[in-house]
Structures are given as structure tokens and as C-alpha cells.
Symmetry: C2
Subunit: 130 residues, 2 copies
Amino acid sequence: MARLQINLDSEVPVYRQIVDGIRILLVEGKLAPGSELPPVRRIALDLGIHFNTVAEAYRILADEGWLDLRHGRGATVLRRDTPLAANAGRVQEFRHRLRALIAEIRSQGASAAKLSAELRSLADELKHEA
Amino acid sequence: MARLQINLDSEVPVYRQIVDGIRILLVEGKLAPGSELPPVRRIALDLGIHFNTVAEAYRILADEGWLDLRHGRGATVLRRDTPLAANAGRVQEFRHRLRALIAEIRSQGASAAKLSAELRSLADELKHEA
DNA sequence: AATAGTGTATACTGTATGTGTACACTAAAC
DNA sequence: GTTTAGTGTACACATACAGTATACACTATT
């Protein structure tokens, strides 16, 4: 599995950074159904954190239906049919969180032009996946 | 000032939702330098929370250089020259957080096509602002 | 069986979040 | 000038969250 990037100084809790990082791989198909994830202790060792923190992340992804998590056997990626249609509220929430993210980065000095280009690039990637 | 939208059930702390919401208005120029923000008690009353929670949000925005916060007088928006050039690290962080956000919403059922369209729309808005 | 390797459960510590309350500063009324 | 109303500030507190330590239970292999 691709190496996860964790920032211990971030305001975002580590377990959520792990969830976010693995979910990217899952959604983008870089972790296919049937794959086995590394044991919690191994990831924990790599990242320099406690294995329970990784286990918490695995549990969340299992709750979301991404992982089959079984006592003594490890974690495997499930085939996960898209759960629900996108309703308007979800897309609106996305829009709001995206605006907040853009505002935060601009507030730190990133130019609107540069971010606009990044957004277009991501939009294209997404389009090809769809 | 435009009404802030706060979700008390969100996993995101209320004070940070306030920071995010106001920062959007600031970055997009909808709160111009010289404007006065409402007193912390008034916003708190509107949102049904304690005024100290709003005060915490104001302090953060003041630390970021957006607000002039003065004892007994209220909060006014400062002219804030862009603080730093966008370095590569910041844009990379943006990209990663954006991917995480997209993955999360897709994981909840939003289609790649729809999100791609949203991204393009936001990219265009940004471009016009630049 | 025994063992090594997996995830689980629970108690514990430090930190973050939000509130209550008293305070200090400013401006306006008098 | 003093008073008063309105503002942000400081700090203690209750509670929830994040991360760790440790003992446990399940699975597969020997």
C-alpha cells in the first residue's frame, strides 16, 4: 500500500488523517476489493503511533462499508456498491466545505489563480474517472 | 453581515465553523476593511451558543491578521495585505485536503461527474476574482 | 497443543471544546 | 467627572475527545 502521510502537528486528529488517506486510495480504486491491508501494528510502527489509533481508523472505514475487519485475520477491502444517490444537501455541504478550504489556503497566501488551476486539474481527473 | 450557518451536530468544533464561515466572507471580499463585526454576544445569541465560543473565533481571526479586536470597542475588519507568497508545500497540502474532501463525499454517494462540475464552477468563480 | 500473528476491549492520561462568571476597557449620557 | 451600558478578556470548570498501555480473544500454522 502507498505510504500514508501523517502530520502529528496538524489540528486534524491522526486517526482521521489515516481514514482520509486510505479512503482516497479506496475511492480512486488504488486499493481494489480483495486486497489485504497491513496489520494495524505495522502501520502504527511506520507512523510512530499506537496501534489502537490505526485500529480506530480501520473501524471507521469498516463502518462505512469499505473494509471487512475480522478478529485474528486482518482487514480486507470489500466490493462496495455505491451506497446512496447524491442528494442536494450533500453537494451543498461539499460546496461549503470546499469554499472554506479555498478561503483558508488563500488566507495563507495562495493566489486565486493558482488555486483555480488546481481545481480545474482535479476536475479533469475526476471527469476521466466518471 | 450574512447569517452564519452553524451545525451543532457536526464533528467540526463550533468555534472553527465560525472561523471558517467568516473567513470565507473576508477572503471573498464580502466583509470589506473597515466593516464592523457584530458583538460576540449578539452572534452567540443568534446561534444559540455561549459568547466565549464566538470570542475564541474572533481571537483566531485576529491572530491571522484579519480583525482589529479591541477591548470595549468591538471588532473591525483590517486591510490585510497578502501575507506570504504561496509556496509549493501549501499548494500540495491544498491538493491533498481537496482529494480527501472529494473522496469523503464520493464515499457518501456523490457522483464523480457532479463533483467535477462543481469543481469547475468554483474554479471559474475563483478565476474571475483573481 | 503450542505459538505467532491478528484485531478487540477497557482503563487511563492529557488536550480540546464549550460554558459560567467575574473582570476591564470604551463610549455615550448625564 | 461620574455613571451606565455595551464591548472584549481572563480564568476556572465540566465534559468529551484523542491517543496510549495493557490484557484479552480469535485465527492460522506448526
